[in-house]
């Protein structure tokens, strides 16, 4: 583990991770012992337990591993429904859940996607915790 202080500028914390994401950079933890990718980075690897975790940029492309559509959304997202969400396996090996900017019927397992990042909407800011207000939202787009 790095000797840097674990403060809100450190990408090993959520504020640091989302700051980088707002700049378009998806940072992952990468286990120096077993190679597991951790999204977002965290203090230790769940696969082998090692605290040897580097922080490295992840290539923002991948494939749909599973997907569905949300027909009964949480109250805050009611206006968006139905919307598509997916688990995406990234090229560098990590897996990440997110919205897909496509209709459910246009998506299939294995489809190539690209990670994009946008600012939160006014509605998203309303339901955000104080420290989340400016955190960006990632969205997958079909390639």
């Amino acid at each position: 583990m790095s000797d840097d202080a674990l403060d809100a500028t450190n990408p090993r914390t959520l504020p640091g991770f989302f700051d980088a994401l707002a700049d378009g950079e998806l940072l992952g933890g990468v286990c120096t012992d077993c190679g597991q990718v951790l999204l977002p980075p965290r203090p230790a690897c769940y696969a082998c337990g090692s605290r040897g975790v580097d922080v490295e940029p992840q290539f923002p492309e991948g494939e749909v591993f599973s997907y569905t559509a949300v027909h009964t959304p949480p109250p805050a997202f009611a206006a968006d429904a139905p919307y598509t969400v997916a688990v995406v396996e990234l090229t560098d090996g990590g897996r990440l859940l997110g919205r897909v900017a496509a209709d459910y019927d246009d998506v299939a397992i294995g489809d190539p996607v690209e990670l994009t990042v946008r600012e939160p909407t006014a509605t998203e800011r309303e339901v955000a915790l104080d420290y989340e207000t400016d955190w960006p939202v990632h969205v997958f787009e079909l390639r």
Partner: protein, 389 residues
Amino acid sequence: MPDPVIASVGASPLGRTDLPGRDLFSVALAEAFDDLPDPADIVEAVYVGNQSETYEHQIMQGTLLAEWAGLRHVPAERVEGCAAAGALALRHAVKDVRNGEHEAVLACGVEKMTAGGTSGATDALSAAFDRAIEQRSGVTAPSQYALLGQRYLHETDATERDLAEIAVKNHANAARNPRAQFPKEIDVATVLESDPVAPPLKLYDCAPVGDGAAAVLVTTAELAADLNRPQVRVAGSGASANNIAVAERDMTDIAGARVAAETAYEEAGIDATAVDIAEVHDAFTVCEALLAEAAGFAPAGSGYQSYLPPAERADGWTDVQLSPSGGLKARGHPIGATGLLQALEAYEQLTGAAGDRAVEGAETALLLNEGGVGDAVTVSHVLTTAEAP
């Protein structure tokens, strides 16, 4: 070490009720102690499973329900692992008794899910997902499980019709369970034609929102005998967490449930083939398929055959009967009480009190209670018939 047994059980009505949580607990308590001395004469500690403070804007349920039972100066606390809270309470009671910490412990669970409408329940349940990535992406419980289901259908021969058959089987079981929230049979078409919730899951693939409370008294075998109670032995207990985020897990090998079940088997000195009945956490139909595999009942990829009679299942399947209660799907799923309702069903099955739905010859039961999505946490118990010592 003392042998922990379940000595009594009780439950409230399940579903949309007009009683607050503590009153539902009063009903469960009255049933559990119907033939017994006052709780204060027996019970030395209380654990309460409860998922969310938001339904009734109430924490401190340990203190509250202990007092409601007439117990003032005992250790009492709430335990929480989302929908596994009930089995966590049971597990603490079992550990306290087997370790000689207490002779009798009350494990209870309560959830008053209908006090804030459907949107209240949707919001409360979503707190179980990783906040940073999952919640902020707008996922819901059905859509999280749909991600598991979609992948399962992709990797196996299972179809949406198979999942529907699981719901049909559980409703048929519930039709013979007077405690069930939905004690009525349904057909496959009803499931397949029900409203889409999160494909491949439809409304009838989903366990309902509902209220409920349950109380399970865990004692030493000696005390249960002194109290003249039918007893069921808790032969093993296991628990395991897994990643909180669905994306980071193996989505079709439910490893946390596997570890929890194997721990419980090992403590009980059995393997999966010894299990006659299992109450598994079918919050969504696909869970029953996945958990049948994780529990070692079915070979990988064939858990979806849980609705078939044993003779018609694939090679490698055991003869286990799954969720004779009707499962979460049709018996009901008042989150924090669910794990204890599973124990209640096994108690009634193993003590000959299951009436019309009795599984003949049932002597060993497995319970699998999960919290979060899938196996974010799993708690498992093996219960067996017991002779009074």
